[in-house]
């Protein structure tokens, strides 16, 4: 019952997010607006109790949700054609650069965070 109520909250807020994003012509997608709405709604105990179970279930299996679209991606791989090798190099290196810069920067900034607490 709680999980089902939680799903209703998630879908309802996603719908509200889609409507808001369209009405206000926001440049970002409905689910992200829905997430911001849920962040506020979670301050209510009723919402929290319902959403917790459903959110934990969905997020525990988040990687499953990417499978259908990723299968479709495979059919586009020939489109990369002659640039395949170079694109692979670009994707791998730029992802590593992104990961390294972000991880080291966050670690550095938060390290200071700890010092401030002491």
């Amino acid at each position: 019952m709680q999980t089902l109520t939680g799903l209703a909250w998630l879908l309802g807020l996603q719908a509200a997010g889609e409507l808001l994003a369209r009405a206000l012509r926001l440049p970002f997608p409905g689910p992200v607006v829905g997430m911001l709405l849920l962040l506020v709604a979670l301050n209510a105990g009723v919402v929290r109790a319902a959403v917790a179970a459903c959110a934990d279930f969905l997020l525990a299996h988040l990687s499953l949700l990417f499978v259908p679209v990723a299968v479709g991606v495979m059919s586009y791989l020939p489109l990369l054609g002659v640039f395949g090798g170079r694109l692979a190099l670009v994707l791998v290196l730029s992802t590593w650069i992104g990961l390294a810069v972000t991880a080291l920067l966050v670690r550095h900034l938060m390290g200071k965070d700890d010092a401030e607490l002491r």
């Binding site: 459903c54 959110a55 499953l64 499978v67 972000t102």
Partner: protein, 238 residues
């Protein structure tokens, strides 16, 4: 004796097929991943996709037929993104105190990922429309498609780049962090997760959620921050 070819043709055309196949293949891939101690190379998304794509090709099932069933799983991505507010809410006090640091990290990290991709692609002589499709690759696939369309890239390619970027991050982050000596204290996990969400969006965040709760929560924050920042800034810059 029933005609199995006829039976197969019938089954492969119903939505039930795509849905059941996706769930079963993923469950087997997940089981293997857990048995292998969550080794990054055993990533359940990668192996499910390889098995399903091979199966569809061998069975002669067209992707739209498969997706007619698999869309029910795909649809849950929306509510899952909304659900990312939950781990964030649970850590709201700490996040509120660190918000500017996280914002700086999301901006610099996102810029490093997109900027290095553009610079490398340019240096390697990759044509302009493909290069522009690389820009939003750290945003999650559907968002990347929308941004690519706005700046003159190819939406389908942007989705391919986003998915591959997610997989590269999810499968290599552990080793990269070991080389960079990012520690495994709570702060270290938060940095690891935040970087995965920044550079490798939902697929990276899914990996972070599987490995550590703190990493997962910060990956969720980073993922949402990246979607908002990229949607706002990329169309302005290109």
């Amino acid at each position: 004796m029933p005609n199995f070819v006829e039976l197969w043709v019938y089954l492969s055309a119903t939505p039930l097929f795509g849905l059941t196949a996706t769930l079963l293949v993923y469950l087997v891939a997940l089981q293997a991943y857990l048995r292998l101690g969550r080794a990054p190379w055993a990533n359940p998304v990668l192996w499910s996709v390889l098995v399903l794509a091979a199966g569809l090709t061998l069975g002669g099932v067209a992707y739209p037929t498969y997706f007619a069933g698999a869309q029910f799983i795909h649809f849950l991505l929306g509510p899952a993104v909304v659900a990312l507010a939950w781990p964030l809410w649970q850590r709201r006090a700490l996040v509120r105190k660190r918000w500017w640091k996280l914002l700086v990290a999301a901006l610099v990290g996102g810029l490093a990922a997109s900027g290095s991709a553009v610079a490398l692609a340019w240096a390697l002589g990759i044509p302009r429309d493909i290069l522009l499709s690389l820009v939003p690759k750290s945003a999650t696939a559907p968002v990347a498609m929308g941004i690519a369309e706005k700046i003159g890239g190819v939406p389908a390619l942007a989705a391919v780049f986003a998915i591959l970027t997610g997989l590269v991050g999810a499968m290599s982050a552990k080793y990269l962090y070991a080389v960079l000596r990012v520690d495994t204290t709570t702060l270290g996990w938060e940095a690891r997760g935040f970087a995965l969400g920044t550079a490798s969006h939902g697929i990276g965040a899914a990996r972070a959620l599987q490995v550590n709760a703190d990493a997962g929560a910060y990956a969720g924050i980073a993922l949402s921050a990246q979607v908002i920042l990229q949607s706002l800034l990329i169309p302005l810059l290109f």
